[in-house]
């Protein structure tokens, strides 16, 4: 299990392969990669700054991974989230899960990214033609999280 918060770019393919390497009990690996888009909410996006809460970020991601590990029989989990300056087309986040069978890997990776979007302390500030702007949380993210029935979720 690895949790990494870093400014540097990463290679999603290499991370995906590492989830299987030398673990012959792994029958399934599922990876999710989130990218910076060049368009959002009616504006062209020239890049973004990702702010976070050092210290809390790592703890929040660990809670998410621990919760996934209690719900599904997982062999390994890797979560990597970038911070700082990002350009359109660059990967922002990687969530990778390995397990013996596909259902656990699919469900756990979906759970982790939904949970991360509503509970991990990251904030995006986009550079647009109209100037920089903080990205607003989407109500849909909360709805997607709610389906996982997390105990202690704020109302």
């Amino acid at each position: 299990m690895a949790i990494v918060v870093q400014p540097d770019a990463f290679d999603p393919g290499a991370m995906l392969n590492r989830l299987h390497a030398a673990q012959l009990g792994v029958g399934a690996v599922v990876g999710f990669v989130g990218y910076v888009r060049d368009f959002n909410d009616g504006e062209e996006v020239a890049g973004m700054l990702l702010e976070h809460y050092p210290g809390m970020t790592e703890k929040a991601l660990q809670l998410i991974v621990d919760e996934a590990g209690e719900r599904w029989p997982l062999l390994n989990v890797e979560v990597l989230h970038r911070v700082g300056r990002l350009e359109p087309g660059e990967p922002i986040v990687f969530v990778g899960v390995s397990s013996a069978h596909r259902a656990a890997a699919f469900d756990a990776s979906h759970f982790i990214i939904d949970y991360l979007k509503t509970r991990a302390p990251f904030w995006k500030k986009e550079d647009t033609g109209a100037g920089p702007r903080w990205v607003d949380a989407r109500d849909q993210d909360g709805a997607e999280m709610a389906k996982w029935n997390l105990p202690g979720d704020p109302e």
Binding site: Y53, M56, K117, T118, K124
Partner: protein
């Protein structure tokens, strides 16, 4: 002493990322601290936003969470990572 931390839009609006606030018996929960900050008026009223999020000692919490001397309390807008 309470260590207040502010992030993202709130940090910019209030032009500060942290502040030490003396603890006193009137600060029983995180909501009491928010009320104290709201009473400063002007830009601090942003903390009245219904979707304000808070954390106590780096874990998400509610405004009802108890507050004790030495706590680190953060206020921030809804998170937008991923």
């Amino acid at each position: 002493m309470i260590t207040l931390q502010l992030f993202a839009r709130y940090r910019e609006l209030l032009d500060t990322d942290h502040e030490q606030i003396p603890w006193d018996a009137g600060l029983q929960c995180v909501g009491d601290l928010r009320d104290r900050l709201l009473a400063r008026g002007n830009a601090w009223e942003v903390l009245a936003e219904p979707r304000v999020m808070c954390a106590r000692n780096q874990e998400m919490c509610s405004l009802e969470a108890p507050l004790t001397d030495g706590d680190e309390i953060a206020f921030f807008p809804p998170v937008t990572g991923g």
